[in-house]
Every structure is written in structure tokens, then in C-alpha cells.
Symmetry: C2
Subunit: 323 residues, 2 copies
């Protein structure tokens, strides 16, 4: 029995192995994903983003608890772009496993892919597919929201939570950088701290001014939920809001639209990833391209003209085999 078939039966070890294969970009893993793909599309995907240190992980723990009480199965993907200056996903993962390690209906996985952020986004989406095919009802993607790449990941979720907390000065940045647009629900965590109500009010005010980018989604007004992840306060209400947003998406056609958008992005990612590894190998190998690269290094060719020559060579020689 192949890895994919085991995943479809909900086998955790098989899923874990497949995800590792995806992280390592093994060709076999891509084939297994192809088998899983028709079995995906059922899970509700929730993105959770926010600056470091505002309690996202604790919040995710709370959410797992509430979903489990409702007898829903949960997948969690903690995305850490292996920042050389932060890079802590693995530890959080371990602490969490102490809570839910014995619950077979909770599957937690950290992704800490090195390399380009597009690769990380790709690994995250593929991991969503694996958990989706396993039969998880809800999949939480936690991203450290300090870079564009992470926001892109959050954007592919069905429902996107933007987490803030008092005293960090985030609120202004959020407004400035246009992150308002990606939030379906705002969470003010550490709501016991002074200033929480103020942030909530500011956001409510901003939301009043907000024009919706998708006209047919115009009637969704992002909620603002105050939470204290450490005590669990507000978690039930947050899950209510998430369910409400899902219902809204399903009824209003927004879910279909978001998924089409995500599919297009994923397709671009697959193309880029293929092209990237193909040309990377070509350039590393040298061969026919060696002279061209040498000319380029000696500045006889510009980056643009050298790239065009290489692409021309590629299109005249290469015929990929469809799977």
C-alpha cells in the first residue's frame, strides 16, 4: 500500500513521512500528492497571523481545545520561515505535543523549510492537502507575520485571523500596511492588558471606512474578538465567529472564489518550482550554458539577455512528460 493510500485512511505516520518528503521536495512525494489531490477540498482552512510574541501559539492551543469539544478533528501547521534571528518553531511544536500528543484527532506539524519563501508557501499548501485528505475538519495555519511570504500563506486560507495585542504598537502598522484587507476576523489577544479596548475601537472605526475588494463579499463585516489565550477567555466566541464566516462564504459563493484564487496561486507555485529546479540544475551543471554564464560573469551579456537565451534554449530542447 502506497503512502497516499495510508494517508487517506488517516495514518499519522504516513502523513508525517509524506510531509517530510514534501519539505525535502522529493519527486516521490509529489506523485503521492497527485493521488491525494482529488480527495481534498473538504476542510475549513483558517490562517492565523500576527507579530511575534503576541501569543499566537497559545491562542491556537485554545482553538484546538474548543474545536475538539465540538468533536471536530484538527490539523495545525505552524509556519516558521527559519529566520536566522528567530527560528523557534520546533520548540513550540514540542510543547504543544505534550497537550495533544495522545489525541489522534489532532495532527500538528511545524514547517521550517529553508530557502525561498515561495518554497515555504508551497510546502504549507501541500501540507494542507495532506491534512485535508486525512479527513481533518479544520486546518489551522499559524504564521509569524513578519514578512510578505507569511501573509501570502495567510491569504490562501478560507478564513484569515489577524492577531494583535495591546502595547505593541501593531495597530498603526496594520492599518498602514493594508493588512486590514486580509483580515476576516480581528483578534485582540492579551485583552486583560490596558489598551485592548482602544485597539478594538480603532479597528471598529477603520472597518467603518473600509471598502470591500470583493463586491459580493461586501456584506461580511470582520468581527473583532477579544481573547485571553492564557485563560481561554474569548476562544468559544472566536470559534463561533470562524463558523459564521465559513457559513457566509459557503452561502455567498465566496468560498468558491477564494479556492479558485488559491488554485491559481498553487499552479503558479508548481510551475515556478519546476522551472526553478530545472534551471538551477542547468546552471550548476554548466555544460552548454557554461560559455553563456562566463560571458555574463564578464559582463559581456546582461542578466536579461542571458536569461532570454537560456529560456530560448529550454523551449527548443525540452518536452516535459505529463504525469
Amino acid at each position: 500500500m502506497g503512502l497516499a493510500d495510508k494517508v487517506l485512511e488517516g495514518n499519522v505516520q504516513a502523513a508525517a513521512r509524506l510531509i517530510t518528503g514534501i519539505e525535502d521536495e522529493l519527486p516521490g512525494a509529489i506523485q503521492e500528492l497527485d493521488i491525494l489531490y482529488p480527495h481534498t477540498g473538504r476542510a475549513h482552512i483558517v490562517g492565523i497571523t500576527g507579530a511575534p510574541g503576541i501569543g499566537k501559539s497559545t491562542l491556537v492551543d485554545c482553538l484546538i481545545g474548543v474545536f475538539r469539544k465540538r468533536d471536530m478533528t484538527v490539523g495545525v501547521i505552524a509556519v516558521d520561515p527559519t529566520s536566522p534571528f528567530t527560528g523557534g518553531a520546533i520548540l513550540g511544536d514540542r510543547i504543544r505535543m505534550q497537550h495533544y500528543g495522545t489525541d489522534k484527532d489532532v495532527f500538528i506539524r511545524s514547517l521550517a523549510t529553508r530557502g525561498w519563501s515561495g518554497g515555504l508557501a508551497k510546502a504549507a499548501i501541500s501540507t494542507v492537502h495532506v491534512m485535508d485528505a486525512m479527513g481533518k475538519d479544520v486546518i489551522l495555519i499559524e504564521t509569524v507575520g513578519t514578512g510578505q511570504g507569511e501573509v501570502e500563506i495567510a491569504r490562501v486560507a478560507d478564513t484569515c485571523l489577524v492577531v494583535l495585542s495591546p502595547g505593541t504598537g501593531d495597530e498603526i502598522q496594520v492599518i498602514k500596511a493594508g493588512i486590514m484587507e486580509i483580515a476576516d476576523i480581528f483578534v485582540i489577544n492579551k485583552a486583560d492588558k490596558p489598551g485592548a479596548e482602544n485597539i478594538a475601537m480603532e479597528i471598529e472605526m477603520m472597518l467603518g471606512m473600509k471598502t470591500c475588494p470583493h463586491p459580493s463579499e461586501a456584506d461580511w463585516k470582520p468581527g473583532v474578538v477579544l481573547t485571553e489565550a492564557i485563560s481561554g477567555r474569548g476562544a468559544e466566541e472566536l470559534v463561533e465567529q470562524i463558523s459564521k464566516h465559513r457559513e457566509f462564504l459557503v452561502c455567498g459563493g465566496g468560498l468558491e472564489r477564494r479556492r479558485e484564487e488559491r488554485a491559481k496561486q498553487e499552479l503558479m507555485g508548481a510551475i515556478e518550482s519546476f522551472v526553478r529546479s530545472y534551471f538551477h540544475q542547468e546552471i550548476e551543471r554548466g555544460g552548454e550554458m557554461e560559455k553563456l554564464i562566463a560571458d555574463f560573469v564578464r559582463r559581456k551579456e546582461s542578466p536579461h539577455s542571458a536569461a532570454m537565451k537560456i529560456i530560448r534554449q529550454f523551449t527548443s530542447q525540452f518536452r516535459p512528460v505529463t504525469s
Copy 2:
């Protein structure tokens, strides 16, 4: 007279316009870059990376001052990946302009390209070319080192400074994440704070254990320089270290090797960028691919097989024109 010719004459307005064109990925800007490219390769490129809030910008200001005292012309590129949670490059830029706005031999530019981090790296390298062609002697690239993308940018420099400061707990992260390998010079900024000497000692110890990835560069032992950017202390010594590293690279052949590596990366970037925009347009336009995308959205095609079909179509139809 074209934009490129004006840049070659050192025209600041022309350079600024060209860089904006690069950020916006205008085709015309790429053509102008092609003209500039043979005139590049003279400047010394210094990368400066480190966590937010450790005084990188102030340090860069100090360095500009020292280089100018030595009658060297300076380009500065401040890279900010438009993080929705930070996103502050523009302000720093303005403050800086108050110091050096009237000095025609200092050209400062912030890059805050939205979108994928590869695009940011590409814009940074292209901006380096512009400043290089303008005749700047030294080009400082300041990156907020919280993501892999920024480290990649730092890595393309001739000389890479990793900046730490006491009390932030960075030192352990730096060692863990393997950032030791990219540092040619360590800078301990805010050296008046307690703990600075300790960090310096720890790094010195680590350096003793370090094995060099490039055998012929093995005899370069990264220096550790203590600075107080706010008072200027240590800036002269740091510039001395930078010059020493440059000399070392030129004499030992390391400069050639680094530039070849950078050229390969740039070539990959140009290929990816072309492929990205080509397929992005194709996917957005729909057309022949529409059915394929629809099948994919309905999960009749896997991402991988759909991508392969699109690439096959591309290679059979497309013949790029060389410039």
C-alpha cells in the same frame, strides 16, 4: 539622451527614476539596465544585516560619514520587505536625507517592493548595478535580517556584516541558524551596554571552531568590531576591517568567486522573473488554459500535472526574442 546614459554621467534624478522603474518592473527599465551592465563591477558591495532595533540604520549613517571623510562616494540601499507588521523603511530614509541630502556623493534609496521576496532581491541587485554604474565607490545594503530573503540579499554582498547587540538574545540564534557562515565581520553595536564583551568573546570562541566553506578563503578570520553607532565609536575601525576584507578578497581570488556566484543567482532571478510574469499573465488571461485551470480547481487535475501541461504548451508555442 536615454536614462542609462544620464546615469552613467552620475545624474541622480535619472538614477532615481530608473530604480523606480525597476521596482515597478517596467520593461523599459530592464532595457536601460542592459545598457548599464557592462559599466558595472567596480563598486565594493557591503551587506549589513541584523535583527530589527539594534541600530543598523545609525550604524550605516556612521559608515557613510567615515567613507566620505576618506573621499569615497557612497550608495545606500535600505531593504525593507514591506512587512505588514514593520514596514518602516521610508521614515528612516527621510531622516537620513536630512544628514546627507545636500551631499551629491551620497545616494540613498529605500526599496520596499511588495510581493515575493525573490522580487525584492532582484530589485536590490538591480539597484546595486545602477549605483555601481553611477560610479559609487562603496554600496551599503542594509537589510532587516528577519527572513531568509534578506539573508540571501546580504549573501550577494562582497563583504557581509552581521550586527548584534547586547541583551537581545540574538547571539544564540545566530549560532543556531548558521548565520556565522555568512558573516565576514561581526559588529557588536550598542557596545556601551552590559554584555557586549561577553557576546564578542562567545563569537571569538565560536570562530575558533568554525570551518570555512570556501577552502581558499580559509585564512580570513572574521573580525569582531565593537561599535557605538550613536557616538560614532568603532566606526573607523569597522571601515578599516571592511577595507581589509576587500583587499583579502581581491588578492585571494575570493572576489571573483563571489561575483560568479552572484551572477548565477542573478541569472536565476531573471529567468524566474520572466517565467513568473509570463505564466501569471497566461493564467490571468484564461484563454486556452482556462479549461485546464477549471479542471484543476475542480480537482480533476493535480497541481503537478496541470503545471506540466502548461509548461509543455509553453515550450511548444513560445520563442522569446533575444534583446
